[in-house]
Symmetry: C3
Subunit: 333 residues, 3 copies
């Protein structure tokens, strides 16, 4: 495997193989599998789970890793092309990224969305520019529009819970958050559930529709897998018979890159905090998923997070296990 960037690059059988490997590596540890191997970890945005889970994953397989973030260079990293570097930044990504990559057998890169231009973010321009500088295998640790490690962990979580692919109802719901967050997680989640063959409903207020290219791709994936994709702003309709609600806040696509416009729309939506009444039309055992970090009392009520519906901790733990499978496939001779 030379590139783990988009879960839809892999077919259902390949994904099943990765998840089987993840399970096997948990049951039957292989602490020598990646001995002498090194994973370079480049974070251009902050991280907690990704930072911890990749380091733990490499250690469990007997390899090593190192972490680089911009504040470790003398004055941050410059990313703009063709610039005369007479300001604060002492280093350009055009040197830093290939060098960091050259110390590893693979590199993980995190680069968030710029959230200025929707088309640029949908094209993953910033991330692809970084990847073009690298000639070792690359793992996307979250970019403007991709988060394949989260998706693989989420798929495993659904499997672990015994939530069926065929006939399983997956609700991706927007939730309130004070800031305009990136689209990577909702886009990855809707693709993942569609690819898995689930009946997917995207529940979001007007102005927060997912971009047409994302929804169209999800519909194509559903058509191929036997699932379905619908979109609504009617909570009751969305939650009807749901097996799982996956909550996440994201930017207004109507006001993308326009913070005041986004903020004005968002301020009306404080009620979009997932709470027990939401679950009334759902299956009794409907689960709550979230990629974390999550704002308590804002995105979701304490009672849900602390109650039996929440699977956010095992979901986050699955990040490590899923990544172990990816690293094993990528680095083992």
């Amino acid at each position: 495997m030379k590139r783990f960037n988009d879960l839809t690059d892999f077919d259902a059988q390949e994904i099943a193989g990765l998840l089987e490997l993840a399970g096997r590596l948990e049951r039957l540890p292989e602490p020598h599998a990646l001995e002498g191997k090194v994973l370079s970890l480049l974070f251009l945005s902050p991280s907690l789970r990704t930072l911890a889970s990749f380091q733990a994953a490499m250690a469990r397989l007997g390899g090593g890793s190192f972490v680089i973030s911009p504040e470790m260079s003398i004055h941050g990293l410059e990313a703009r092309p063709g610039i005369v570097m007479d300001g604060a930044a002492a280093e350009h990504v055009r040197e830093a990224v290939p060098v960091i990559a050259s110390y590893g057998d693979a590199i993980g890169i995190r680069a968030f969305a710029e959230r200025r231009d929707l088309d640029e973010d949908l094209a993953d321009t910033e991330f692809e520019n970084l990847v073009s500088l690298v000639d070792v295998p690359v793992i996307n640790m979250e970019s403007a529009i991709q988060h394949p490690c989260q998706s693989l962990a989420d798929w495993k979580t659904l499997d672990d819970l015994g939530i069926p692919a065929e006939g399983g109802k997956f609700v991706l719901s927007w939730a309130y958050h004070p800031l305009a967050l990136p689209l990577a997680v909702p886009a990855a989640a809707v693709r993942m559930a569609s690819q898995r063959g689930m009946d997917v409903t995207v529940l979001r207020p007007p102005g927060f529709e997912l971009p047409p290219p994302v929804m169209n791709q999800a519909r194509r994936l559903a058509a191929a897998s036997g699932g379905s994709v619908t979109e609504t702003d009617d909570r009751r309709e969305a939650m009807e018979g749901a097996h799982v609600i996956y909550a996440k806040s994201w930017s207004s696509t109507l006001h993308y890159g326009d913070r005041p416009g986004d903020q004005a729309l968002r301020e009306e939506l404080l009620g979009w905090c997932v709470d027990e009444p939401w679950f009334e039309p759902a299956r009794e055992d409907c689960r709550f998923m979230h990629c974390l970090p999550v704002r308590r009392g804002v995105v979701v009520a304490d009672g849900i997070l602390d109650g039996p519906r929440s699977v956010v901790v095992p979901q986050a733990r699955n990040r490590m296990l899923a990544q172990m499978a990816v690293l094993y496939r990528m680095m083992k001779g």
Copy 2:
């Protein structure tokens, strides 16, 4: 071992076993003992020795570790229960801590004292709240009132120096410092020396008495081990025949949580800087111990730190060796 939180949870024989193991792992390295094992390290307060010595300890045993501190999350970690997270903090410890723990085979947690309410700090409320979120084995890397890794290293240091348990005189002395520091180290030191069976004197100015629960526990430990515990503000009396002086500054217990009150009392005590004249009534070979970091010329004179009495560097090195024994017992199948 599921929990290394309080050295008094272990009897003298168990402690001897840990120290024997520490010595053996130094003489006969076992670089495969913890292969594929991971230690999660969570620092809610800054650290140097603990940070370095735990990473080194795991590496020497063939395992790995990762470090998380609050600034690695997007905007710090929220710890208050029931709060609506609409401020800066994007993540709550209720999610972060169990997730971080779930990536490891054990977790080390450092959480300093709040120093607002003495009873809360004596009950180790903040640390115990964090531990309740975790279901893997836990190591206390310093909390409001415990520092068992320091105590085990200190015990080993006394053994290494050949300072007798029976009849060995241990002076724990308050020293001047510009800030009101936590009680964990003095409480741990007085318990450790009492449990070891030494004749313990706590030397401190009025207003800096250790809390009664700490002193009472030390007296019970001394009664069981054949040691003794006394308290005084008379330096000459305290140092008479001492084998070792263990210096440390701590908050005024008379003005606990009241910074101006503490400061007013403290300002009169600049003379509590350990120096050669203190040792006149002590044994000629009386040693100087300190957990570090130490302020030169404030807590102790340069001449003592740079002279033959000081054992602060081997004492700090024993942190690594003691922790290797704990990790081995905790993680090895």
Copy 3:
């Protein structure tokens, strides 16, 4: 090997042996060579390549490492001797450095130049003070006047490119940079090329002459190795027939420690940005080397860095390989 501080401590045969080992460890990995061994990494100045390449090097050889930088202690590290520590700093290097060293089988230390007094920097006073506190083997990870890891990597890079020692023409050129940078890299580069037996030209504007002790040492090395050393401010003369140009900015030695004086001189020299016309009198295949980080459009034109002359990425990768050889020699029983 107890000390890797100055490449000139090693003769040509020893250097050839290290580079042969570096090549062998790349071709035939030895992921168990340093199992259970620990490298302490102390950075008193920021780093990217050194930070990443040492961690990667240890992991490839099966060992571990940990990183300490001043912000990890409570309020920075104090380095001044004899000071009463009643200010912000809570820890002195006299305790911190031996403790950090004691957790490892070797220690790497980075301490930049103070750039106040040229003689002190040439004597490497700050670094030598730190080394005197340590009793494990020490690697200089860049000090006021040494950078042996860079030199060994540079030597390997020249070998890899097939640039001859005898008759190979090496140009060390000053370049513009907005800040007054240390002398370690240019001093190390001119020594390295002289020791390798090359014909070395130092190209620099008036006021930026390398210090006489550095040039005299280079001339002695060249005399022993069959090379030569010249100095000029005439670009055309310098570049005539060059195999390689090694660009680097450094402080004015005429105004050392005098920032306004340095700045006034420097402002006239914006034209010292390496670009294609520089290469006109050089060999057609003349290469461009730089230790990184490099300011694009300031030190060197984008076209050079992005074109076939530049070897800065393999040069930086050689840092890891060269350091693996040093670590192997230093730590393997």
